[in-house]
């Protein structure tokens, strides 16, 4: 008998990235492969390390807000929000009610926008081009709404410490309503096009399975953790803003097409979260006060008392936390961003053993990472 060792072919090292179409930015993966089978993956990050934490210490509290936009550039509003939450908790600022509602509105819209990109690029990773274009068309409508409130398409800086920069413009609520009503139907179309496609299911079900305990151990959060069947959502577990007033459902992976925690589950959690976000926006539009302050009075030289705080919030990628240390001056002593994508990515080497290259691409896409947030 010959042992399988004798049949082993030569293993080669392949460099995937930093310029590679499916690494979602400038991630570099070092693969050790035996033919099509990947035997080892080493992610290398830092190609987009833009020193955001240094900037946090170098400017005043307000000056950090634009840099948070550029961390997770797909969900700038959510990053703004997380940072502002931390500063507000540090300085005991109370946010007016209308501002809280507006925050939820733009935050959830941005979650949809971010998930749309995840949906579209996931299609691209698997070789389906058209979903990407459909997703971006819808996203443009959300960006139009954002442009109405803050004038920017991608880097909003709409949040201020103690509120938001400006009230909603006239006609915004109506357009938002129209968009949500239209978009709910559009999700079904997406499902027909990609989600329930036979080839798509074959490519994603039972691939890249992350068991729940492993997901927790590696610090995965957001859709990745929920895809593994854990009903964890910071919006419910540690509510912030006015989330306790809203009724919504946390979708989790249930292993419908394969086993719990596979790529399809993670993908599906995002699709269902878009539906839930639509519901949240509808509720908010209904219960939001017509008029009111959108910004608490916060001095320009904002000096929170000495202390430190770690505040987390649910960004579209998962738990986005900010660790702030104040030394009593108008500049933070230390700003640390705990980015969800970093922890979500670090699970990749653990699950990719014995995969094929195509599966690796599918798994990486289902983690939905953003390099700006990982490298900061």
């Amino acid at each position: 008998m010959t042992s399988s060792r004798e049949f082993r072919s030569q293993e080669i090292y392949v460099n995937m990235g930093p310029q590679h179409p499916s690494t979602h930015g400038v991630l570099r993966l070092m693969l050790r492969t035996d033919g099509e089978i990947v035997s080892d993956v080493a992610p290398m990050i830092g190609y987009l390390h833009r020193c955001a934490e240094k900037y946090g210490e170098s400017g005043t509290y307000q000056m950090m807000i634009p840099y948070t936009d550029r961390m997770d550039y797909l969900a700038g509003m959510n990053c703004n929000w997380a940072y502002c939450l931390a500063v507000e908790k540090l300085g005991n600022v109370v946010v007016p009610e209308r501002a809280e509602y507006i925050r939820i509105l733009v935050g959830e819209l941005n979650r949809i926008a971010s998930h749309l990109i995840a949906f579209g690029t996931y299609g691209l990773d698997l070789g389906a081009f058209t979903p990407f274009f459909y997703a971006l068309d819808e996203r443009e409508k959300i960006l139009d709404l954002f442009e109405m409130v803050c004038g920017a398409r991608l880097t909003y800086s709409y949040f201020r410490i103690g509120g938001v920069a400006a009230d909603l413009p006239e006609g915004w609520v109506k357009r938002c309503h129209e968009f949500i009503d239209f978009f709910r139907k559009r999700i079904d179309e997406f499902n027909e096009l990609l989600t329930y496609n036979y080839i798509f299911i074959r490519r994603t079900a039972n691939i890249g399975v992350i068991p729940a305990n492993m997901a927790v151990d590696y610090g995965c959060t957001g859709p990745v953790l929920r895809g593994s069947g854990m009903r964890r959502d910071t919006r419910v577990d540690e509510p912030y803003g006015l989330y306790p007033r809203l009724r919504f459902h946390i979708p989790i992976g249930m292993g419908e097409k394969g086993s719990v925690g596979d790529c399809w589950d993670r993908y599906m959690v995002r699709i269902r979260e878009m539906e839930q976000s639509c519901d949240i926006i509808k509720q908010v539009l209904k219960s939001m006060p017509e008029k009111g302050d959108v910004r608490a009075k916060v001095p320009k030289a904002f000096k929170p008392p000495k202390g430190e705080v770690y505040v987390r919030s649910e960004s579209s990628k998962g738990e986005l936390g900010f660790y702030l240390i104040s030394d009593g001056t108008d500049r933070p002593y230390r700003v640390k961003a705990r980015s969800p994508s970093l922890s979500n990515l670090c699970v990749l080497p653990a699950i990719s053993d014995g995969m094929m290259i195509a599966d690796l691409v599918a798994t990486l896409g289902s983690l939905d990472i953003v390099m700006g947030e990982i490298d900061r």
Partner: protein, 196 residues
């Protein structure tokens, strides 16, 4: 440019060669294939430009190629860090002539918001590769990218392919080449012990 060493820049200015040049330039400007190469936030806007609402393909520039060998335009979309700079330089060298570079957004143009304390941010991609078009904005709107593309087309339209260059044009090209060749020599490779 080294695409046609026998023919390039060797002919007098006359009706025939002006027309031929015009045709070649028209073909080049009508089919600018960009490289799928996103760095940061601006890459998302680049994706938006490629998508339905804006549709870069209308200009014949929608065939995003994943490999530098087949692309004409490198859109440096986003912040360039030192770790990435060396790779960008190599990607640029892998592209075939004639190649063009667009610095999309202020980060790629000059360091942008990361100019002051960005210890790891390259202050403008033009420090390592020659840039044809700078597009301002953080990130630039899709319309700005279109504007940059049209400007680039305008630039290509007036290039001399077969016709002889004037001494001034020649000196400008020589100087740029020399500058970036010097830069290339200065870039030291990663020390052996750090290579994986």
């Amino acid at each position: 440019m080294v695409t046609m060493p026998i023919l390039e820049n060797r002919f007098e200015e006359n009706v025939v060669f002006s027309t031929v040049d015009e045709m070649i330039n028209w073909c080049r400007l009508s089919s600018i294939w960009p490289m799928t190469f996103g760095l940061a936030c601006c890459a998302i806007e680049m994706m938006a430009v490629g998508a339905g609402q804006y549709d870069l393909d209308r200009f014949g520039a929608g065939a995003f190629r994943a490999t530098p060998r087949q692309s004409d335009l490198m859109i440096v979309a986003g912040t360039v860090t030192y770790k990435m700079a060396i790779r960008i330089k190599r990607l640029y060298e892998q592209m075939p002539e004639p190649k063009f570079v667009m610095a999309l957004g202020v980060c790629a143009s000059a360091g942008g918001p990361y100019y002051e304390h960005g210890y790891h941010v390259l202050k403008g991609v033009d420090k390592i590769i020659p840039v044809d078009i700078y597009v301002p904005g953080c990130p630039p709107r899709p319309e700005a990218l279109f504007d940059g593309l049209l400007k680039l087309q305008e630039k290509i339209r007036h290039q001399k392919v077969l016709r002889r260059l004037t001494p001034q044009e020649k000196s400008v090209i020589d100087e740029t080449t020399r500058k970036y060749e010097l830069e290339t020599q200065k870039l030291t490779p990663l020390p052996k012990e750090y290579q994986v």
